[in-house]
Amino acid sequence: AAVPAPKSTCKNLCHRHQLFINFRDLDWHKWIIAPKGFMANFCHGECPFSLTTSLNSSNYAFMQALMHAVDPQVPQAVCIPTKLSPISMLYQDNNDNVILRHYENMVVDECGCG
């Protein structure tokens, strides 16, 4: 039987939302030397079955969306980060130490269904 495709507008589809947090707004600029802020991008949006293949999805997301369409008890494929990049932070602690620290997978570059 044909699986009815749920209606979704382009605006509601899974994609990356840009969000920049300025450390000055949090008063953290007094101890964080660089960067000036953090790109706190996030993924949000729907992953309808009809568009699962075109929304940078994993094969499993396609299967899950298909199963959800057949059995609504199976959860829907969700909008998740598919590409992340690291950040480096330069800051000063209470002992006047200058610290440069690398953090993996901190900034969302791309989103997709999974």
Binding site: S88, D96, I99, R101
Partner: protein, 230 residues
């Protein structure tokens, strides 16, 4: 909505919000590493966050520890005593126990490197000072000699690898590092006659800047590369 600030601070390895009185100078090396990382991120180049290629070591945290020591002044005549004696003290307590130390480098900045106003040759000596806990009560005794080196002056920045010494570091048994630095002016005696010696020594004291660059690796975020079996 209250942002759980403490969660973020713990994530950074801090207990509370730092409130530095003044920003410490950031060495060119740290700025270069940061700029290279940012450029790679912007260009989408894959990065190994657990390897610092500029230093050729594994690690994801670089710390620049300022020297919290003090100068020692001798009561004898300047001609009979070292030009400069300083106890270098580095507080290692902020390095968490779980972190593995992969590099420790002592930086000695002896003032700007210049062809003008050339000075005499200097002899640098560095000793390990055990028992840094008793510093408050008396002048500590020097222990093992780590380095004896002659350098022309002005020399600029010098770096010494202390990795061998701190290889078995752990924060419980070794919360701080104490070193005794002694600088002697080598010359034929002419420096001592016309007041040059004292002038040289006070210039050295003013320009001396020391720090310890420490690289650590967080095993929860990085994995040490295991040796291949022969």
């Amino acid at each position: 909505f209250q942002f759980p600030e403490y969660v973020f601070l713990q994530f950074l390895g801090l207990n509370k919000v730092p409130s530095p009185q003044k920003f410490q100078p950031v060495p060119t090396l740290l700025r270069k590493i940061l700029q290279d990382r940012e450029a790679a991120s912007t260009a989408g180049v894959p990065q190994d966050v657990c390897y610092i290629k500029e230093l050729g070591v594994r690690g994801n945290v670089l710390r620049l520890l300022p020297d919290q020591g003090f100068f020692l002044y001798s009561k004898t005549r300047p001609q009979d005593s070292p030009c400069l004696q300083k106890l270098l003290y580095f507080n290692l307590s902020t390095i968490q126990e779980k972190q593995q130390l992969t590099m420790a480098q002592l930086g000695l900045d002896l003032g700007p490197n210049t062809y003008f106003n050339l000075g005499p040759e200097l002899e640098l000596a560095l000793w390990l000072v055990p028992d840094t806990q008793v510093w408050g009560s008396k002048v500590p005794k020097a222990g093992r000699v780590l380095l004896v080196k002659s350098v022309p002056w002005p020399q600029g920045a010098l770096r010494f690898n202390l990795q061998g010494m701190v290889r078995n570091w752990n924060s419980h048994s070794w919360p701080s590092l104490g070193l005794l630095l002694q600088i002697l002016v080598k010359g034929d005696g002419a420096w001592e006659l016309d007041g040059h010696l004292q002038d040289t020594c006070s210039r050295l004291r003013r320009s001396l800047h020391t720090y310890l660059l420490v690289v650590t690796l967080d095993p929860e975020q990085c994995h040490l590369v295991s040796r291949k079996r022969r």
